[in-house]
Amino acid sequence: MNEMRERPNLNLARINEIIAHYQDQKWGLIPLLQKIQEEFGYIPPESTQPIAKALGLFPTQVQGVISFYTQLYTKPQGEKVVRVCRGTACHVRGGKTILKLVKQHLGIEEGETTPDYEYTLETVACIGVCALAPNIVIGTNTHGRMNPKKVAQLLGSRKDAEQHARP
C-alpha cells in the first residue's frame, strides 16, 4: 500500500508528545488512542510501538484494542466518508449496483480512501430510512432513492478518479 508515503503531514513528534502525556498509565490507552485519532483522523501504525512502550504493554495488546473498536481507524480517512447502505431494503432495491458504481466513481474498494484523501468508502447496515432505499450517506448528508444518474451527479466531478486508482 502506498498511501503511507503520500499521507499528509504525519507529525511523529506530535504523536510522541501525546504519548508522553500518558506515560506509564495503562488505563490511559483508550483516551490516548482517541486523542491521537482526534488530531490525526486515524491512528498511524507507527504509533503502536511507542504507545506500547510508554504504557508498558505489548504492541499486540495495543493492536488488539484498536482493532476491537470499529470507530478507531488505522488508516487515514478521507475528508468525507461515503457510506453505502447494505441493509435488506436497500439491498433488494439495487444497493449492490449503487455500491459498484460508487466504487467505480471513486476508484477505490470498501474501507479504502482516495489518494487525494477526499473520500473514504464504507458500507453500513440499515441507516433507518428504508422507505427511501437505496440510500447512501456522504459526510453527514443522506441521499435517498439513489440511481446511477444521481451517483454520477454526486460524485461525478471525480470522473478522472479511475486514472488515480491504484491497481
Partner: protein, 897 residues
C-alpha cells in the same frame, strides 16, 4: 488457618480462603471439565465450560474464577449445569471445521474429550464457516485457527508466562482470533517458538509442525532438558522407541509450564542418522567399526602401556558438563584410581571457573544463592555480562515477568543491545572489559552515600576496611573515564541497586570468559554483600550456567585440584577417607586444567587423552592448534554421540547414549539436583557414558562395583556434603520441598536467610586491569562472541536437530550501520573476520544492536567456528581461556546472492 466449608455434590468439604470452587473440587476428587483454565495461568473465565450451580441462589457460576464462600451448596452435575454445558460445547463444535475428524491433536484435544465424555456426537447447530490455516514457513508451529475456541490460553501463556507478547486477539466477534502484530506469520513476529502456547492449546488450533508421527503416543517420560543450565523439566512423548514430542513438564516447580525453543523442538538429534552406533578404531587413517570387546581391550592396553612407560601424569581426562553427576563422579574416580592422575577437568572450565572460585572466596559457596522463583520478588534486578533471553531463556522469562507483572526495575549493563535492553529501566553501555571498574564505582557510591546494610556488614562480613581502602581510587570521574559511562549514570545505577531492600544480580559468561573474570565476580559479590542481598527472598546472586550440568561436574570432583565436594587434595583426612572407600592410592599433585593439558601435549608430556562428551576442536580457542595437538597425541580416545570434529582425530571412538537413553542426575544453575529418566534403549550399540567408564575400569583390572547410576549417587550422598539428603529416589520432591519451605539444609546450594556457609562472608578488593588496547589499524574492531537462542554450544547437537537447523543454520556477524557503510558492506554480504590468529567467514547482519567499532558473532555454528579467532590467553587464577572478545578486522569477500 481459617477454613471455609461448603457443600459439594451433597458432601461437606473444606478449603481455605482464596480457593476457587474448582480448586476445592479438584482437591476433593470431583471432576469438573475446563477449557480455558490452567494452573500456571491467571484465570479469565472465558469458556464457561466449568459451570456449576449454586443451589441456594440458582446461579450458574464459572467454578474456575469463583472463590468459595461459607455455606455454598454447589452441584457440578445438576440438570441445568449439564444442559448449559452441553450447549456451550455444541456451539464450539458447530464453529469447528470438518477437519476435526482427522485432526492431529487426536485424543489430546480437550474439546473432543469433553464432548465425548458428555456423549455429544452429531452437532445440530448450523456450522459456521471458519478462517483457514495461516500460511507459515517456520518449522516449529502450525496454526489452524479454524479450530480456535478463543480460550486465550495461548495469549496468556505468551504474555504472562514467557512474556514475549507475540500474540493477542485481533478484531472482535466472529472474526476475532489470536494474531501477531499486523497479523503476520509467526516467524515475522516477536515469537521465539518456545512452544508454551502449543502445549497449552486445548484444541488442534496450535500444533507442532513437521510431525514425525501422527496418532497416539504410548508413553510419557518425565526428564530434564539436555541443553542449557536452567534444567527445565520436560516430558518426552514416545511411540515405539521413537521420541515424538517434547512438552513442558507440568509438575516441574522450576519452569511452570514453559520451555524454550530448544527444549520444545531441539530433541530430535537423538534420532539423527549421524548417531554413532558402534565403537570404532582407526586403521590406516580411517575409522572402522569394531566390537566393544576389541575397542575396550585396545584402550585398556594402550592406557596401561602409556602409564607404565611415561608415568600416570602422561595421561589426561577431559569430562563433560553435559554428562550426569554420576558419570562425572565415576570418571574422576577412573582418572584418579585407575590412571593414577589428577589430570582431570571438565567442559565448564571454559566458562564457569571464574564464577566458582570467585564466589567461594567471597560468600563461601561456589554457585547461585537462590532459587529462580525468588527473583520475581526483587525490586531491582541487575543483569551484567549475560544475555539470558538467549543463553538461559527460563531466567529471561523470570526477569521479564518481574518487570512486567511485579514492577521490578531492570538495571542492564551490557555494551551490546540485547533483547532485554528494551525492558531496562537503566541501561549502561560500558566499554568492553571495564566491568570491574564500573562495579567498583557503584560500590563506592553505595558506601559514600551510606546506602549499605551497615548492620549486616558489621555482623556477618569480614574485610570491610580492605574494601573501602581498595575502592578509594574508584571515584566517579575515574570510573567514568575508564568505562565511558557518565558519572551521573553510575550514581543512578548504584542507587537503583542499593536503595530497595531486595535486589538481585544475574551474570553470565560475558563476565566470566574475560581475563580477570574472577575479579568481576568478586566485585559483584561485594556489591551483593554490601547491600545484604545474599540468599533472601528477592535478593541473591544468580550465576548462569551454560550447560545442563556445569555445576554438577565440578561438584563431583571432575577437577584437577579438588576431590568430590571440593575437598582439597591436600586435606589429609578427606583424602584418606576416599582412599579407604575406593581402595586405591590417590595421586597428590594437583593436575592439569583443560588448556594446560593441550599445552603439555604440545610439549610431548601428555601422551594419551580420554575425552568424554566434549568437542575441544570447536570449543577451545585457537582451534587449528588444538586440532593439530590432539591429532599428534600417541593415543586419543573420544566418547561421544556423534563423530564430532574431535572424534575424527581419535584412535578409538566409543559411541555414547543420549540424555534420553540413560538415567542419572543433572544439577541446574540453582543447585537443584534433578533426575534424568530413560525414555528408550540406547541407539545401536551405543552405551551410556557411565556404563562405558565402568566397563573400561574393569578391563583395566579395577572393577568399580556400581550396578546403576543410582548406586553411584547413593555414594555421592555419603561423601559430598552438599548432596546429602538428596535421596536419589525423591530428588524432585525434596527440591520442591526446599523451595517451598525455605528451610533447606545447605544441600544443593542455596544460601538461606542470608547465612553464609562458613558463618562469615569476606570482602576482597579487586582492581581494574586495563586490557591491551586494540592493536591499532590492523585489527580495528572488537569482536564480542555470544549465544543465539536457536543453536547451542558448539552445535554438535543443535545443528543435528532438524527443526533448529532449518530455522537457523547460518552464522552471522552483526555490524553497526556506520561501520558497514564505511566498509561498503551490505546486509547479507559474505564477510571475512580476521584476527591475529586465524579467520572465519559469515554473513553480515547490519544492525543497531552493536556500537561502532564492535562486532558481534554467535558461537554454535560448526561451519564458522569463531573460537578459531582467539589466541590461548588464560586467566592466571582460574585458567579459563578468554573466549569473549578479541581484536579483528573485516573484509568483504562476496556480495549477497
Amino acid at each position: 488457618m481459617e477454613t471455609i466449608t461448603i457443600t459439594l455434590n451433597g458432601r461437606e468439604v473444606s478449603g481455605h480462603p482464596g480457593m476457587t470452587i474448582l480448586d476445592l473440587a479438584q482437591e476433593s476428587g470431583v471432576d469438573i471439565p475446563t477449557l480455558c483454565h490452567d494452573p500456571h495461568l491467571p484465570p479469565v473465565g472465558a469458556c464457561r465450560v466449568c459451570l456449576v450451580e449454586d443451589e441456594h441462589s440458582g446461579a450458574l457460576l464459572a467454578s474456575c474464577v469463583t472463590p468459595i464462600a461459607p455455606g455454598m451448596v454447589i452441584s457440578t452435575q445438576s440438570p441445568r449445569v449439564q444442559e448449559r454445558r452441553e450447549t456451550i460445547i455444541k456451539l464450539m463444535l458447530a464453529s469447528h471445521p470438518d477437519s476435526c475428524a482427522v485432526c492431529d491433536k487426536g485424543n489430546r484435544c480437550q474439546l473432543r474429550k469433553i464432548a465425548s465424555d458428555m456423549g455429544i456426537g452429531l452437532v445440530e447447530f448450523q456450522r459456521i464457516p471458519q478462517l483457514a490455516t495461516v500460511e507459515e514457513v517456520n518449522p516449529f508451529i502450525e496454526r489452524d485457527l479454524s479450530k480456535c475456541i478463543l480460550c486465550a490460553k495461548c495469549i496468556r501463556a505468551c504474555q504472562e508466562l514467557v512474556v514475549e507478547g507475540a500474540i493477542d486477539y485481533i478484531h472482535r466477534g466472529f472474526i476475532s482470533k489470536p494474531a501477531t502484530l499486523n497479523d503476520l506469520p509467526l516467524e515475522k513476529s516477536e515469537c521465539t517458538f518456545c512452544g508454551t502456547c502449543v502445549a497449552l492449546c486445548p484444541t488442534g488450533a496450535l500444533t507442532e509442525k513437521e510431525k514425525t508421527y501422527r496418532g497416539t503416543t504410548t508413553t510419557i517420560v518425565h526428564t530434564i532438558c539436555p541443553f542449557c543450565g536452567c534444567g527445565c523439566g520436560i516430558c518426552l512423548e514416545m511411540k515405539d522407541n521413537h521420541l515424538v514430542r517434547a512438552k513442558p513438564d507440568e509438575d516441574s516447580s522450576l519452569n511452570h509450564g514453559t520451555l524454550c525453543v530448544k527444549g520444545s523442538y531441539g530433541y530430535d538429534f537423538v534420532h539423527s542418522p549421524e548417531r554413532l552406533t558402534n565403537p570404532m578404531i582407526k586403521v590406516n587413517g580411517s575409522l572402522e567399526a569394531v566390537s566393544w570387546e576389541r575397542a575396550l581391550g585396545l584402550v585398556a592396553d594402550e592406557f596401561k602401556r602409556i602409564k607404565e612407560t611415561y608415568g600416570p601424569s602422561s595421561l589426561a581426562v577431559f569430562g563433560s558438563s553435559k554428562c550426569t553427576n554420576e558419570e562425572n563422579y565415576l570418571l574422576q574416580r577412573f582418572a584418579r584410581c585407575v590412571l593414577g592422575t589428577n589430570n582431570i577437568d571438565n567442559g565448564s572450565r571454559l566458562y564457569s571457573s571464574a564464577s566458582r572460585i570467585g564466589l567461594r572466596e567471597t560468600i563461601g559457596f561456589p554457585g547461585t544463592t537462590n532459587f529462580l522463583d525468588d527473583i520475581e520478588q526483587s525490586q531491582t534486578i541487575l543483569v551484567i555480562g549475560a544475555n539470558p533471553t538467549s543463553s538461559a531463556p527460563l531466567v529471561g522469562y523470570a526477569i521479564k515477568r518481574a518487570v512486567r507483572h511485579r514492577g521490578a526495575k531492570l538495571l542492564l549493563i551490557d555494551p551490546q543491545q540485547t533483547k532485554l535492553a528494551s525492558w531496562a529501566h537503566l541501561w549502561l553501555r560500558p566499554k568492553v572489559g571495564t566491568d570491574v571498574a564500573l562495579i567498583n564505582g557503584m560500590a563506592k557510591v553505595i558506601i559514600d552515600e551510606d546506602l549499605l546494610d551497615r548492620e549486616y556488614v558489621a555482623r556477618k562480613i569480614n574485610g570491610f576496611e580492605v574494601l573501602t581502602t581498595g575502592l578509594r581510587r574508584y571515584t566517579l570521574d575515574y570510573v567514568a573515564e575508564i568505562t565511558g559511562v557518565l558519572g551521573q549514570d553510575i550514581r543512578h545505577a548504584a542507587r537503583l541497586f542499593a536503595e530497595p531492600s531486595r535486589a538481585s544480580i544475574v551474570y553470565g559468561n560475558g563476565m566470566t570468559q574475560y581475563v580477570n573474570g574472577m575479579g568481576s565476580v568478586i566485585a559483584l559479590a561485594n556489591l551483593a554483600m554490601l547491600t545484604g542481598n545474599i540468599g533472601h527472598k528477592g535478593g541473591g546472586i544468580y550465576a548462569l550456567q551454560r550447560e545442563s550440568n556445569g555445576q554438577g561436574a565440578c561438584d563431583m570432583g571432575a577437577l584437577p585440584d579438588f576431590l568430590p565436594g571440593y575437598l582439597g587434595l591436600g586435606e589429609g583426612q578427606a583424602r584418606k577417607n576416599f582412599e579407604d572407600r575406593w581402595e586405591c592410592y590417590l595421586p597428590v599433585d594437583i593436575g592439569l586444567t583443560a588448556l594446560e593439558m593441550i599445552d603439555q601435549a604440545r610439549e610431548g608430556k601428555i601422551k594419551g587423552m580420554y575425552i568424554v562428551g566434549e568437542n575441544p576442536v570447536l570449543s577451545f580457542p585457537q582451534l587449528t592448534l588444538i586440532g593439530q595437538t590432539l591429532a599428534s597425541l600417541d593415543f586419543l580416545v573420544v566418547q561421544d554421540m556423534f563423530l564430532t570434529e574431535t572424534a575424527k582425530l581419535a584412535t578409538v571412538v566409543f559411541p555414547a547414549a543420549s540424555f534420553a537413553e540413560k538415567e542419572g542426575t543433572f544439577t541446574n544453575f540453582e543447585g537443584r539436583v534433578q533426575k534424568l529418566r530413560k525414555a528408550f534403549e540406547p541407539t545401536g550399540d551405543s552405551l551410556p557414558d557411565w556404563d562405558i567408564i565402568l566397563k573400561l575400569a574393569s578391563r583395566m583390572n579395577y572393577p568399580m562395583t556400581y550396578s546403576s547410576p543410582q548406586q553411584a549417587m547413593d555414594e555421592v550422598e555419603e561423601v559430598v556434603a552438599m548432596y546429602q539428603g538428596n535421596g536419589y529416589t525423591d530428588v524432585e520432591i525434596k527440591s520442591q520441598h526446599r523451595a517451598e519451605f525455605d528451610s533447606s539444609p545447605l544441600a544443593t546450594g542455596n544460601i538461606r536467610k542470608r547465612q553464609f556457609p562458613n558463618g562469615f562472608g569476606r570482602f576482597s578488593s579487586v582492581e581494574y586491569i586495563p586490557q591491551r588496547e586494540n592493536s591499532g589499524d590492523e585489527y580495528p574492531f572488537t569482536l564480542l562472541a555470544g549465544t543465539t537462542l536457536y543453536q547451542f554450544g558448539t552445535g554438535s547437537r543443535s545443528s543435528r536437530a532438524s527443526r533448529l537447523r532449518k530455522f537457523s543454520s547460518e552464522a552471522f556477524v552483526e555490524i553497526s550501520k556506520p561501520d558497514a557503510k564505511s566498509l561498503g558492506i551490505n546486509h547479507g554480504d559474505k564477510v571475512k573476520v580476521v584476527s591475529s590468529i586465524d579467520e572465519v567467514t559469515a554473513a553480515a547482519k547490519v544492525s543497531d544492536a552493536v556500537s561502532q567499532g564492535i562486532i558481534f558473532m554467535p558461537m554454535s555454528f560448526p561451519e564458522s567456528p569463531i573460537n578459531r579467532l582467539f589466541g590461548i590467553v588464560l586467566d592466571p587464577r582460574t585458567k579459563t581461556p578468554v573466549l569473549k572478545t578479541c581484536s579483528v578486522r573485516l573484509e568483504r569477500t562476496g556480495n549477497h546472492e
